[in-house]
Amino acid sequence: MNDIIVKNITRIIIPFAQVYGIFIILNGHVSPGGGFAGGAIIGTTLILYTLVFGREKGKKKFSHKASEIAESGGIIWFVTIGLVGLVVADRFLTNINAGFPEGIIGEILSGGMIPLLMIGIGVKVASTMISLFNLLIDEGV
């Protein structure tokens, strides 16, 4: 796409949308939102970048290798946090009893392992969105 208006508007919008997505992920345990919604917003901005600036530039920003790492890394991160609970407190995915810091309720540093899990889910969902789109676009090229 070679439209200067679309390109410039995209350049302005993408940082704000990505910051909003990160905000939703990190505030998932305080305000509405969470890993799934925030990850979907970040994935949408990556899709928008690929749509406007073309497949080659999009590949440079988020390559196939990076999506592989993010895909498997999200699940490995989740299972690792679960295994901490299994080792320390005898149950998979234990939260406060496994020694995760409690924090003060209502502040961003609270909720034990919930923010950590949300970060893992967010990375996973964002990379799922962009890789599904890339696979559909690349098919038969």
Binding site: P32, G33, A37, A40, I41, T44, I47, L51
Partner: protein, 79 residues
Amino acid sequence: MVILNIVIVVFLIVCALAIGRIKDLLGAVILFSAYSLMMSVLWLVLKTPDVAITEAAIGAGVTSILFFAVISKTKRYEK
């Protein structure tokens, strides 16, 4: 509030019927996107902001883009 609910639900029903009737698949995807956007407003009215955010991002954003990608690989008009 009841009137707002009724307006949204009527819009949703009209959208859903139109998606079934229309022959142009691109138009069907755009109608589906409008359906999802109105559905997210309805979730907000029903006091579930979590689902509203997810519906707006996934239903109106990602799903329609994936459908567009599939349509660009196949035919635009239904036979």
